[in-house]
C-alpha cells in the first residue's frame, strides 16, 4: 500500500494534512523536520509521495529533498513542497532536485487531492 509522508515542524499542519489525506483513504506517515523526514523516507520503501515544508529546524525541506535524491537515488518518490515560501530561487532549487510541485500555504484541499491522485497510483 503506497504511503504519503508529511514532513512539517508544525503540529497543526501535520494534523491537518494527514487528517485530510487519511479521510480520503490514504495511508500517511509524518515527520517533524527534515532530518526526521530523511530518516523515514530511507526506512520506508512504501513512501511514494512526500509533502515537505521548507522552513524547519535541524534540516530544511530543500536540503532534505536533495539528500533524499542523492542518498536514496530514488526518482520514484514524488515530492511536493507545501510551504509559506514563494521565493523564485528556492523554487528553482526545488525543481533542480526533481520536485513535482510547490504549494503555498494556506492550501486548497481539492487541489492537493488532485495532485495526490495523479502521483500515488
Amino acid at each position: 500500500m503506497p504511503q504519503i509522508l508529511v514532513v512539517d515542524d508544525s503540529d497543526a499542519v501535520r494534523s491537518e494534512v494527514s487528517g485530510f489525506l487519511t479521510k480520503n483513504g490514504f495511508t500517511v506517515v509524518t515527520a517533524v523536520d527534515g532530518k526526521d523526514g530523511l530518516g523515514k523516507a530511507k526506512a520506508n520503501a512504501d513512501v511514494k509521495l512526500i509533502f515537505a515544508d521548507v522552513n524547519m529546524p535541524n534540516m530544511d525541506g530543500l536540503t532534505m529533498v536533495e539528500k533524499i535524491r542523492s542518498e536514496l537515488g530514488n526518482k520514484t518518490v514524488n515530492i511536493i513542497m507545501l510551504t509559506t515560501e514563494s521565493d523564485a530561487s528556492m523554487k528553482e532549487r526545488g525543481k533542480a532536485a526533481g520536485i513535482k510541485g510547490w504549494i503555498v500555504k494556506p492550501f486548497n484541499g481539492a487541489n492537493v487531492l488532485e495532485a495526490v491522485k495523479k502521483m500515488v497510483a
Binding site: 521548507v54 535541524n58 530544511d60
Partner: protein, 311 residues
C-alpha cells in the same frame, strides 16, 4: 470599564490612531487639546486623579498621558506624575505647566519622569512633544494595508468558520504583553528589520481548537496544540511578508537556506519553545557577594541552535 471619551478622531482605513489618557479640568485647555488630538489622531480618554489607576490597569496599549501641574482644587499633580511613571515607565507623560512655571522649577525626579512639559497655552510646543515622543515613526498606509490583509487571510485559514474583525490600527508606547501566550518571529527585508509578535489568551484559543475550528484534530488538545496553531499562524504571516517585501538574504553563500521559525512563549506556564526538541546546552552562573550582604543570584544561559548546527 466604561471610558469617558474626550475626542474620537476619524482616521482613514490605513491611518493609525493612538489612545491616550487625559487628566484636565480647564475648559480652554480641553478645547485646545481636542484640536491637537484631532490633528494627531489621538483618541483621548478622560480620567481623574481617582480613576486614572483603574484606567491604566484596564488599558495596556496606550500612547501617552496628559496631565496638568496643578489640578482643579489647586493640588499639585507631581505626586501623580511620579506614581504613573513608576507604574508605567514607558508611557510618555506630557505635563501642562502652571502659568509662569518652567520645568526646571520641578524636582529632578519629575523632570526625568516626564517626556516633556509645555507652557499652559503653548500648544505648538505640545504638538512638537507629541511628534517627538509618540508619533516619531511613520508607518506608510500601503504597509499597514498589506500587513492587515496578509494577516486577515492567514487568520481565516487558521480559524475556520470564524469572522475576523479588524479595529483601526494604533500606535503604542506601552511595553506590556497581552494575554499569557505570544509568538515572536524576525521580519527582514531590504528596508526593514525587526520582529512580529502575536499575543493572545491560551484558554480562548484552546476553546476554538476544541470546537474543531482549527487544523488540530486531537481528542484532548492541550496548551501545546495552542502553541502549534499560533506558531503556524505566525509562519503564514511571515511567509506572506517575505513574498511581498523580499528577504534580505534568502540563502547563505554556501546555499544554506536562512530558516526562520517562530519562538513561542507562554509566560503563565513559564514555557518557551524554539521549534525543535534538540537538547539545549545550559550553563548556570551564580553571583556571590564576597561580603555576605547580598544573597546568591542565579543566571541561566541556554544555547538553542534550532535553526542550524554543523560544528
Amino acid at each position: 470599564m466604561q471610558l469617558n471619551v474626550l475626542v474620537q478622531p476619524k482616521a482613514g482605513e490605513n491611518e493609525t490612531l493612538s489612545k491616550v489618557v487625559v487628566i484636565e479640568h480647564a475648559a480652554a485647555t480641553l478645547g485646545a487639546l481636542k484640536s491637537v488630538f484631532e490633528q494627531c489622531k489621538l483618541v483621548g480618554y478622560r480620567a481623574t486623579r481617582e480613576s486614572v489607576a483603574a484606567i491604566l490597569g484596564a488599558n495596556i496599549d496606550l500612547g501617552g498621558i496628559f496631565l496638568p501641574e496643578t489640578d482643579a482644587q489647586g493640588t499639585s499633580c507631581v505626586d501623580l506624575v511620579a506614581e504613573i511613571h513608576r507604574q508605567r515607565p514607558e508611557l510618555p507623560i506630557f505635563l501642562r505647566l502652571d502659568a509662569n512655571h518652567a520645568l526646571d522649577d520641578l524636582s529632578s525626579e519629575i523632570v526625568r519622569a516626564v517626556a516633556g512639559a509645555y507652557a499652559h497655552d503653548d500648544f505648538t510646543a505640545l504638538r512638537e512633544l507629541i511628534d517627538t515622543y509618540l508619533l516619531s515613526r511613520d508607518y506608510p498606509g500601503e504597509f499597514i494595508s498589506a500587513m492587515a490583509e496578509m494577516t486577515r487571510e492567514a487568520m481565516q485559514a487558521s480559524f475556520r468558520d470564524m469572522q475576523v474583525e479588524l479595529e483601526q490600527p494604533y500606535i503604542v508606547k506601552d511595553k506590556i504583553i497581552y494575554g499569557e501566550l505570544f509568538s515572536l518571529i524576525p521580519l527582514e527585508s531590504s528596508w526593514c528589520r525587526g520582529y512580529m509578535m502575536l499575543q493572545t489568551e491560551e484558554e480562548k484559543i484552546l476553546g476554538v481548537i476544541k470546537a474543531k475550528k482549527t487544523q488540530i484534530n486531537h481528542p484532548e488538545p492541550t496548551f501545546r496544540h495552542v502553541n502549534a496553531v499560533l506558531g503556524e499562524l505566525s509562519n503564514m504571516v511571515w511567509g506572506s511578508f517575505k513574498t511581498k517585501y523580499g528577504a534580505k538574504k534568502v540563502q547563505d553563500g554556501d546555499g544554506q537556506i536562512r530558516v526562520e521559525i517562530p519562538i513561542i512563549v507562554n509566560h503563565a506556564r513559564k514555557y518557551i519553545s524554539f521549534g525543535s526538541d534538540d537538547p539545549q546546552l545550559c550553563f548556570k552562573y551564580t553571583l556571590i557577594d564576597p561580603h555576605g550582604k547580598l544573597g546568591p543570584i542565579s543566571v541561566y544561559q541556554k544555547f538553542i541552535f534550532s535553526l542550524d548546527w554543523a560544528p
